[in-house]
């Protein structure tokens, strides 16, 4: 009986404590939250709204000139030949680049993880360098490498008697060239992530498998790959998000050409929004892209849960 009031008091004290805690929580995360709100949340909703207006060059200094047009931008977008072309190109990049990146990164990671491999750190740095190098600088160097008459790549192919194609000038080869660059840039980062994943696989699994007489191929297939699943989930999800936003490489190397064969969705968005100042139309592209990325990411997560 005597304990009841003290329990009540304790509760009151708790709530008080919680109140001050929440206050402090907001004091500490408040600045970050406000920044997030100003630079991320508000723009997202602004862009959602913009996609329903005809915001253009004349509205930039006087917002009242932008008219609400409902879903007209989307209606026009789905009839826009170039948008479909850009969509096709972007998925072309994703579908080719993703498996290639995963395979190469896995290969690199497994090789780096072997005990026999020497100069591990040196190779790690080599693989990682493209990822931390400025894309603009990379693109300039690659435009030299890919130069059909003076480039080192076609010179190299020439040593084997192969006449290299006109990499960036041929509509058939321009996208593969871009993919080459994209993959080369992404492999280092993913290699390191996979390497971390490999190192977290406990040795006893392999030892047990060896006792059972498993071949190294079986070990890879039945231990390494399943144990890497969380890492794989992470890198493939990030790849979907990253590759669908393909922009810098075609922007620097081809500006979308030739024949719009390297025009990506984000490049098209940039062109509409910041070259033609059709920010309403550009926002509708952004909304479609966002929905696509969200849908594909959810699909990827769902697939992994089914396993």
């Amino acid at each position: 009986m005597k304990k009841a009031p003290s329990r009540g008091l304790l509760l009151v004290g708790r709530i008080d404590e919680m109140r001050t805690n929440t206050l402090w929580i907001f004091v500490f995360i408040g600045p970050a939250l406000i920044l997030l709100l100003i630079f991320l949340i508000i723009p997202i909703f602004a862009s959602l709204y913009l996609s329903l207006t005809d915001f253009n060059v004349f509205a930039l200094t006087d917002w009242s000139r932008a008219k609400f047009v409902g879903f007209r931008n989307f209606y026009e977008l789905f009839q826009d030949e170039l948008f479909w072309k850009a969509l096709f190109n972007t998925f072309y990049c994703l579908i080719v680049a993703m498996p290639v990146t995963v395979t190469l990164s896995l290969l690199n990671a497994v090789l780096l993880n072997r005990e026999q491999t020497r100069f591990k750190n040196f190779f790690k740095i080599c693989f990682f360098l493209p990822f931390v190098t400025n894309t603009v600088a990379i693109a300039i160097v690659w435009s030299w490498i890919l130069n059909p008459s003076y480039g080192i790549l076609n010179w190299f192919l020439g040593l084997f008697g192969i006449k290299g194609p006109n990499w960036l000038g041929d509509p058939k080869w321009a996208m593969p060239s871009i993919i080459m660059l994209v993959v080369w840039k992404a492999v280092g980062y993913n290699t390191l992530l996979l390497l971390a994943g490999l190192q977290s696989i406990p040795d006893f699994l392999y030892e047990a498998a060896e006792l059972d007489g498993a071949t190294s191929w079986q070990k890879f297939w039945y231990i390494t790959l399943p144990m890497l699943r969380p890492t794989m989930l992470f890198i493939t999800t990030m790849m979907i998000i990253g590759y669908l936003q393909l922009f810098e490489e075609p922007y620097m190397l081809t500006q979308g050409g030739p024949l719009n064969s390297t025009l990506s969705v984000v490049l098209y968005l940039y062109r509409q929004g910041f070259k033609f100042f059709k920010l309403g139309y550009a926002s509708s592209i952004a909304v479609v892209l966002f929905l696509m990325i969200a849908a594909l990411t959810l699909l990827r997560l769902k697939l992994s849960k089914q396993d």
Binding site: V57, T61, S149, N166, G169, Q255, G257, P258, F274, F276
Partner: protein, 398 residues
Amino acid sequence: MRKALIALLVLVAVFAFSERVLQIWAMGEEAKNLHIMAEKFMKENPGVKVEIQAIPWSAAYDKILTGIAGMQLPDLAQMGTTWMAPFGAMGVFEELSPYLEKSFINKDMFFEGSWQTVTMNGGVYGIPWYVDVRVMFYRTDVLKEVGYDHAPQTWEELYDVAKKLAQRGEGMYGLSLLYTGVFGNEFMPFVWQAGGRLFDDKGNVRVTDPEFVEAIKYYARFFWEKLAPIGGGNLFQDFASGKVPIFFSGPWMVSMIKQQIPQIEGKWSVALMPKNKARTSFVGGCNWVIFNTSKNKDLAWKFIEFMTRPENQLEWYKIVSSLPAVKEVWNYPELANDPIMRVFGEQLKDAKSPPNIPEWEEIANAISRRVEEVIYKKRTPESAAEALKKDIERIRKR
């Protein structure tokens, strides 16, 4: 005594703060050297301080755009001619007709094509500073090898010499033309030379006229017959080796050739655009604009007048060798006696700029896309013109 002291202090303070500051945004080489002219201006106008903010060309477009969006603009800026329309449409440039009435500056001082770039919807929104015009660069020695002791003068001659040059062997070409990206400014001269146009006076799209189609055909044929290279190469290396002995470009190329490939000194020259019905070229360059947010508009105008004075235009030419926009300066011996400059001066008399409308960038994209489709044989010139007409009408509808 004390009151007098305070009064004196106030007076000093007023004088100290009465120094007027003129803020200027400038780009590239101009920004690096403009202080020379600014110092001269400050000497002429005591109590004025000129502040020049240098912006690299690559960042200039975004910088101006964000400046407009946030209304954080200088008094005065250097403005590329092709940027006049989009930024002008945002309504940030001061209309200059009232200033012109009381000034020695008038439109007849400038080249017609250059003045075209400062006028929009009947108003004047800038004053030309310097111009650039595209001419033909060619290798005199290489052309001599195939029997041309002069630059090709007409469309027929250009085609003929290109064909002969390409026949020199594998990997040899006649000339270099742009085939991808946005090349509206490079392609339009051919349309003008053929007597074609984008719009008539009533604003109807005229790209399906036979003259326009002829220009597409002429341009694309150089690629179909492998007289112009698709992709690759390096303009300077190919020009030096003679692989590609003809190209079209602006005045900046003169000093770049001298710096990068000095070994061909004396073996190259410049010439006027080839003639079909006319020899029209593209004129660009930079104008001065005053932002209507400025609180020093009269001072900004004073600076424009200062930069437009022929003796200062000449001095500026000597500093960065960009082409003077004021016609009179071209009669001065420094320019008139220079064989290369003479060609540029001559070409300026027949040079146009694309229509000064905010949709130009989008139209230039459409033109490039359709011409590219012809170059890669995805369309005939006629069907490309039809498609282009629809594109432009759709763009203008909005």
